[in-house]
Symmetry: C2
Subunit: 203 residues, 2 copies
Amino acid sequence: MATTKIPAKRADAQRSIAAILDAATESLSRNPEASVSEIAKAAGVGRVTLYGHFPSRAELVDAAFAHAIEAGHAALDTVDLTGDPRQALARLIDSSWLLVDRFRSLLVAAQSVLPPGRIRALHAGPMERVQQLVERGQAENVFRTDLPVSWLVGTMHSVMHSAADEINAGRLSTDKAADCITATVLAAFTPPGRPVPALSDLA
Amino acid sequence: MATTKIPAKRADAQRSIAAILDAATESLSRNPEASVSEIAKAAGVGRVTLYGHFPSRAELVDAAFAHAIEAGHAALDTVDLTGDPRQALARLIDSSWLLVDRFRSLLVAAQSVLPPGRIRALHAGPMERVQQLVERGQAENVFRTDLPVSWLVGTMHSVMHSAADEINAGRLSTDKAADCITATVLAAFTPPGRPVPALSDLA
């Protein structure tokens, strides 16, 4: 009957989409230039089915990137953001960096087909988390208030992505990245006249 | 004769290339999505001639971006980089920002067809200038030495481009950008334990 057939079809489509997104995330995280054919093969679907859901490679990359960010955003729920805003920020950077580093190749894929504004827009969830912490830090007089909140949030975003670029270019090692990001972002958030924190102060 | 004809042909090609690069820089600085046809028309050459020199739009954008950076790099020769490294850095940021802002639309065009690594590679000249200043500031114990020089140079690069992104997104006004960049970069370069400079200290 039509009433049972349509939901079954929809469930099939949902399963296809989920398999495609998982395969795209996985394939692009290994090779930023993974082709649509490779991704269809890894997902166990035909190219026609894949193109039925994602009409272009750019749309597929966009969806896979959004998928990875959503999963990462959920994973960051476990980070303790209470207490001293600087220490909370250092914990958030440590955990966020693990995700950025894990999806570094997917980020390259996204950067090569999506404009920077779209990449930042896809980070809306994680950036709202940063924004709340920045606002609390400003209210507690620990982060600088002479620069706009959106600017400070954007600075953290670009410094994290800069670390990914530096690793890709062979100028930075993965194990040093989190410390470089934390030291830089904490310094950038410190109010004028106050001393820049040493990383050891936050241990 | 062949010996005189070839140089004449070469001179013609040189003139064509120069006209195409000027037109591409100009057109893409107004509209990051300017088409190859528009650029050919503005340069007063045919599409076939343009494609003879630049086989793809990406190659044309790459060349126009390189052309703009080269001109900008030459313009920065007039910036006084002597004296207190913080004040020298503030002057360099002010002058560099005028260029980034002027070519903001061309940067968007470049970001949509070139990977971040290529964009940074095209900035090799300007970044070497920053690197020399960072090294001097470190030697004079004014900039932090606990982070690699390449990291500090990359931080300045990404914070400047972040400002362009923020303006494009409508979150920052052009007149506030230079102060945001200078405040952020100077804080990021300050050694741990030292006070973050206020912008007014550098006037």
